[in-house]
Symmetry: C2
Subunit: 437 residues, 2 copies
Amino acid sequence: MKCLIIAAGRGSRLERKGLSKPLVPLLGKPIIERVIRNAANAGIKDFYVVTGFNGERVRKFLDSLAKDCPIRITHITNDEWDKGNGLSVLKARGYIEGTFILMMGDHLVDPEVIRSLINRGVSEGEIALVIDRDIGNPLIDINDATKVQISNGKVVRIGKDLESFNGFDAGIFLCTPAIFEGIAKSISEQGDTTLTGGVRCLAEMGKVNAFEMGKNFWIDVDDPVALEKAENSLLADLKSKKSDGPVSTYLNRPLSIRISRYLVGLPITPNQVSLISFALSVCAAGLFMLSGYGALLAGGVLAQAASVIDGCDGEIARLKFQESDYGGWLDAVLDRYADAFLLFGLTWHAYGTLLQLKAIFAGFMAIIGSYMVSYTADKYDALMRHRLSRGIRIGRDMRVFLVFLGALLNQPFAALAIIAVLMNAETIRRLFVCRSV
Amino acid sequence: MKCLIIAAGRGSRLERKGLSKPLVPLLGKPIIERVIRNAANAGIKDFYVVTGFNGERVRKFLDSLAKDCPIRITHITNDEWDKGNGLSVLKARGYIEGTFILMMGDHLVDPEVIRSLINRGVSEGEIALVIDRDIGNPLIDINDATKVQISNGKVVRIGKDLESFNGFDAGIFLCTPAIFEGIAKSISEQGDTTLTGGVRCLAEMGKVNAFEMGKNFWIDVDDPVALEKAENSLLADLKSKKSDGPVSTYLNRPLSIRISRYLVGLPITPNQVSLISFALSVCAAGLFMLSGYGALLAGGVLAQAASVIDGCDGEIARLKFQESDYGGWLDAVLDRYADAFLLFGLTWHAYGTLLQLKAIFAGFMAIIGSYMVSYTADKYDALMRHRLSRGIRIGRDMRVFLVFLGALLNQPFAALAIIAVLMNAETIRRLFVCRSV
């Protein structure tokens, strides 16, 4: 499947520091890169990008992007970028045959929508347009949006100034070469050089199918307000990680997302964030091994901070399209070491204070139990995936929070004992639950 | 695919305690059960078994077997079991239409052979016979075996007394109803009621295709010598587990196989064996925590014994067709607890002797390292699966052996230090190796 992206316009409402709109960064990545990588995630490998205003710089950026990803990008130049965007589409005539995806260089959309649109298919001589039926969608600027009237699955009217409408044009199409004919007709008959004009011509002939996108995310990043809305949506989406326990959900994740928002602008990799979090945990363990409440408290705060930052690696990886199996694995392995060091440090502190062997025992059982919960997590999660309710997830977030609380309240032994009981009980519970499934 | 199994004969050379041959146990499971479960492993669900001598008991056993497995068994009775075995096959006429697998109730074969035979297929009016071309196969009783002469992929001659031959009839067929006609013709024209007679008639018409089984395992369990050969082959096959490290390969596995050979005859489940091994490790850890070389040595020997027995659960599961994901997981989880207890016990002993904190440190790092090697094993193995050479595998077998050596040589601290260095170095090595792959 080929994909045509039009990114020739000036986008004056978003010009920043002389950058043209496609290159404006959105959480660390230019908008056009997000559009292309989303489509690549949906399985598209062959891109045609129409550039115009400030085209030289955009093309240079796209060339470096194509080296990074397993995709091909063909440049199409539109010197008439100051006229309607239908001309940009027309320039692709001769480059693309058959069915293709058409996207706007400033519309972000969930890759799932692209995938289903491709699966839907389109008949010869027709096109399909992705439609958002949610009239109250807060991400849409109602004054600027292109409205549509749908009837019996067909787009019957389209325009920015429709008086009655029942959906929005989301700017993603599955096209046949009919789109070129529609635009050519719109220009010759109406003098209308916009893409919307071309779509209107086809709609009048009943050739525009409405493809409803449901509740999936999309946004037209047209001005600073939309840019901020887009950033907030992408950040909010990070909260939906299913493996988050209660401490993650209500404490760590809200904080880590704020930190990630800042970090995505820096040239720092997710693996480097994992290593920083690990180093902080090692420092915290070192503080635990000193005597006195001051050191204990400082270690506890540092441990909890490390746990918060431990969420950032995955967030940054998602935001910057840098997710990898290796990264996830490295993070997990470092977390296990960090857990063990923290608990060993706390054990040391508890024994130094109490001078009783029960501290050593509790610490040992806490370390074992923590490992066992992590060791059994994959199997248990795989088994529980299809269950609707599974209660509270006991994991690293809760473990480190208990360490933090133990330090804060100057009760290292109690913290170790609670972790030991909780983690080993959870492991044994998993053994029984999985047996009966 | 249906499967016809003939098990009507008396098999006088293997009669034991009044049991008829199909019910004679081979490593804890009756021969006929092994034949059926192997075929079930190859994907067959619908069985037709011809019984004759002592048929009542065999049918009763098969009924209970069909309740245990997701298979269907239809009984066919042959009262003329004292005549040629071709009559047993003929009794199935009317029960089976189309293509089917025909097996002998006393021939064991690798399920892989059945799978490839089904994939091969057979033309209307023909049959395919599985052939072993290894004339020197030590599992074959050359005097009793049915020989074949193959030419251009066809069986041209067959019989026990062929003077020249280039293969053996392995007793597994992919049949069309042509087999019934062949046997009927053999009876009416030659008065020969054997299956071999029927095959000979078809062979003379060029209708018997030779299916070469390569180096796969098969054996005709006809007498006590063959029974012992079959048992030894199944036990030897247990040695081929790819995840075995050097201590497993050269010490634990040879011993555990001897123990499993004994245990398969008892009503003990693999999970029970896992629990016994775990309990022995806990006892060993308890001995470590006592003072004195005697306790240390006893603990070391017990730990190594537990490690040997730890191999038996998987072996028994394979021999008794009781392998399960849960069983493997339970074993792994118990092993992790056992590792931790053993190392904690050894740490305790070392600290009690040395009274130096380095013992606690070494013990802690040994426990962490051991867990990390287990925690990273799945990912690492998945990655290394396609590599031919991967050097020595560092795993539990080596860990417990080092514990044993440390106890034997009265050097618990040295053992902990070596385990700590080895296991953590291996974990870090894996992190780097996986990164570059």
